[in-house]
C-alpha cells in the first residue's frame, strides 16, 4: 500500500506545488517509487516545475479511458523513480469535476502501486479539493508565516472537519438523523455546520463517535518562505495551539527557509533541490522528506 500525502492549504501561492515537486524528487532519489498527481484542476503546472513539457497523457487519459488504469496515466520524469500524473490536458471545465469522476479518481488513487503518492491540491476550500484531501488521514498543510496564511489554515482545518462529518453522517447515521431533523424545526438558511451541531446535540453518543473519527487525522504542516528575522518558535506554537484546540493530532514538520534562488529555479524550469542542493532551503526540504518517509 502506498503512503498517500495530500498537500493542501487554504491560500494560493504558498508553495504547495513547489514543495510537492521537491519532496517527491528527494524521496525518489532515495530509491522509493514516487508519483505526484497534479490535482490543482484547471490551474495545473506541476510539469513546469519539473522542467517538462505538458505531458500528452495524464488524468484526462484515465477519465476518457484512453488508458486502462490510473497507473498507466503516470509519465516518467527526468528523475528516476519519480512519476507524474498531470491534469494539464484535461477538458477546460475540469475545475468543476463531475461527482462520478471525482469518486473514480479517489478510488484509483488509493490503489496506486507506488511507495509514495503526493497529491498537489489547489487553493481554497471547494468540495473537490476537500474530498481529495480526505483521501488520506495524513494530509500536509503548507502555510507561510503571515497572519493571513495562518488564518486560512485554521479555516481549512475547520472546513475539512465539516466535510468529514458530513461524509460520515451520510454514510452511517443519515436515516436516523433525518428523523431528528423533522422533529427539530430546521429553519431555511441553516448551514451544514448548523446541521451537524443539531445532529450532535440530539445524540451525544454519536458525538463521541464523530470526535473519535476526527481524532484519527494526523495533520502535518510546513511553514514555507520562512525568513530569519521571524520568531523561530512560531511552528511549535502553532502545533501546540492546534493540538489543544482541535480534535486531531498535529505535527510540525519544519520550516523551509526563504531563498530568492527558488524563484530563479522556477523561471529556468529546473528543480531547485537539484540545482542548489547545498542551500539552507534544500537542507530544510531534506529534513522534512526524511520525517515523512
Amino acid at each position: 500500500m502506498a503512503k498517500i500525502y495530500p498537500i493542501g492549504g487554504g491560500k494560493g501561492g504558498v508553495g504547495k506545488s513547489f514543495i510537492t515537486a521537491s519532496l517527491g524528487a528527494l524521496i525518489a532519489k532515495w530509491g522509493k517509487k514516487v508519483v505526484i498527481i497534479d490535482l490543482d484542476l484547471g490551474a495545473s503546472n506541476l510539469h513546469t516545475l519539473l522542467g517538462m513539457q505538458s505531458p500528452n497523457i495524464g488524468l484526462n487519459s484515465f477519465l476518457d479511458k484512453t488508458v486502462q488504469d490510473l497507473e498507466s496515466a503516470a509519465v516518467s520524469t527526468s528523475i528516476p523513480n519519480l512519476f507524474l500524473i498531470s491534469s494539464s490536458h484535461c477538458y477546460m471545465e475540469i475545475a468543476n469535476l463531475f461527482y462520478a469522476h471525482k469518486v473514480k479518481i479517489i478510488e484509483a488513487i488509493k490503489k496506486l502501486p507506488f511507495d509514495y503518492v503526493f497529491l498537489d491540491l489547489g487553493p481554497g476550500t471547494n468540495f473537490n479539493m476537500l474530498d481529495f484531501f480526505l483521501t488520506s488521514e495524513e494530509g500536509i498543510l503548507i502555510c507561510t508565516p503571515e497572519p493571513t496564511s495562518i488564518e486560512n489554515s485554521f479555516r481549512f482545518i475547520k472546513t475539512i472537519y465539516y466535510r468529514k462529518l458530513k461524509q460520515m453522517i451520510k454514510k452511517h447515521i443519515f436515516n436516523s438523523l433525518q428523523k431528528d431533523f423533522s422533529e427539530d424545526a430546521v429553519k431555511p438558511g441553516t448551514t451544514p455546520s448548523d446541521i451537524i451541531e443539531i445532529a450532535l446535540k440530539h445524540d451525544p453518543e454519536k458525538e463521541g463517535h464523530l470526535r473519535s473519527q476526527l481524532s484519527k487525522f494526523k495533520f502535518k504542516f510546513i511553514f514555507n518562505q520562512f525568513r530569519n528575522n521571524l520568531d523561530a518558535t512560531l511552528g511549535n506554537q502553532f502545533e501546540t495551539i492546534c493540538n489543544r484546540h482541535f480534535y486531531s493530532f498535529f505535527e510540525f514538520l519544519g520550516y523551509v527557509s526563504f531563498d530568492g534562488r527558488i524563484q530563479d529555479a522556477i523561471f529556468s524550469k529546473t528543480l531547485y533541490v537539484h540545482r542548489y542542493p547545498h542551500t539552507q532551503s534544500a537542507a530544510d526540504l531534506k529534513n522534512i522528506a526524511a520525517k515523512i518517509t
Binding site: P145, P147, I150, E151, F154, I157, K158, Y161, Y162, L165, S193, I196, E197, L200, E207, L210, D231, L234, Q237, F238, T240, I241, R244, H245, F246, Y247
Partner: protein, 221 residues
C-alpha cells in the same frame, strides 16, 4: 463542535509544564502562555473570538495564581489525584501510605468500619428525622453537615483518614468560613467526598452549599 474545550485542561496542561515544576518555571510558562494567547499573537489572533480569548486568559491567570501559591497548589494537586485526573506522584503516594500505616489500618478498613457503624445509626428514627430536617431545604450550610456528622457519631479525623482532605479545610467547610475555602473546583470535589461518607446525595450537597456561599456575598450576585 470543531474546537476542543479549553477547560478540559488542568492547570499544568494549560501552562505546558510537568507537575513538579519549580516556581521559576511556572513564572516563565505563565509569560509564554500569555504571549501565545495575546490578541496580537500571530498563531492565535484569528482563531478565537474576543470572548473566547478572555475566557482562556482568565483560565491562564487562575492556573498561575493557584500554582505559585504553595497551599493552593498542594490542595489543587490533591484534588487532581483524588479525582483520578492524574496519578499520584511517588512522594505523595508514600506519604499517604505511611500516614495510613500510622493510623489504625488502611483507608479501606477505616471505610468498612465506618460503614458498619453507620448502618446501625441510619436505622434509628431520630437520625432519619434529622436527615429530613436538615436536607429537605434548598440551602445547606456547614453547620448542617457538622450536626449530621456528629449525630452519626463520626469524628472529623475519620473523615480526614478516608478523604485525606486536610483538617483545616474540613473545619472551614463545617464552620462556613468561606474565606478559607479552596477555589470552587476542588471545593466541589471535597464536598462530594464528604457527602458520600455521610451517605448524602453529593450533587445536592454541592448545590446547597454553593447557594449558601452565594447568599453570603450578595454583592457578587
Amino acid at each position: 463542535m470543531d474546537m476542543k474545550k479549553f477547560d478540559e485542561l488542568n492547570y499544568y496542561e494549560i501552562l505546558k509544564i510537568p507537575m513538579n515544576s519549580s516556581y521559576f518555571k511556572i513564572k516563565q510558562a505563565y509569560k509564554d502562555a500569555l504571549s501565545l494567547y495575546d490578541q496580537d499573537s500571530v498563531p492565535t489572533y484569528s482563531l478565537f473570538t474576543r470572548e473566547e480569548r478572555d475566557e482562556i486568559l482568565k483560565r491562564i491567570n487562575d492556573a498561575h495564581s493557584t500554582l505559585i501559591d504553595d497551599n493552593k497548589r498542594a490542595a489543587y494537586d490533591r484534588m487532581l489525584v483524588d479525582s483520578g485526573q492524574v496519578e499520584a506522584p511517588i512522594s505523595f503516594r508514600t506519604k499517604q501510605y505511611q500516614s495510613s500505616m500510622r493510623s489504625s489500618g488502611s483507608t479501606m478498613a477505616d471505610k468498612d468500619r465506618l460503614q458498619s457503624k453507620m448502618k446501625e445509626k441510619f436505622s434509628m428514627e431520630s437520625i432519619q428525622n434529622l436527615s429530613k430536617e436538615l436536607f429537605s431545604k434548598e440551602l445547606l450550610s456547614g453547620n448542617d453537615l457538622k450536626k449530621f456528622r456528629k449525630a452519626l457519631g463520626i469524628d472529623i479525623m475519620e473523615i480526614y483518614s478516608i478523604t485525606k482532605i486536610s483538617i483545616s479545610v474540613l473545619n472551614a467547610i463545617e464552620e462556613n468560613r468561606f474565606d478559607r475555602l479552596p477555589p470552587d473546583i476542588y471545593l466541589k470535589n471535597f464536598l462530594k467526598s464528604y457527602a458520600k461518607i455521610l451517605q448524602l446525595d453529593p450533587q445536592k450537597v454541592v448545590d446547597g452549599y454553593f447557594k449558601t456561599i452565594c447568599l453570603s456575598h450578595p454583592a457578587d450576585g
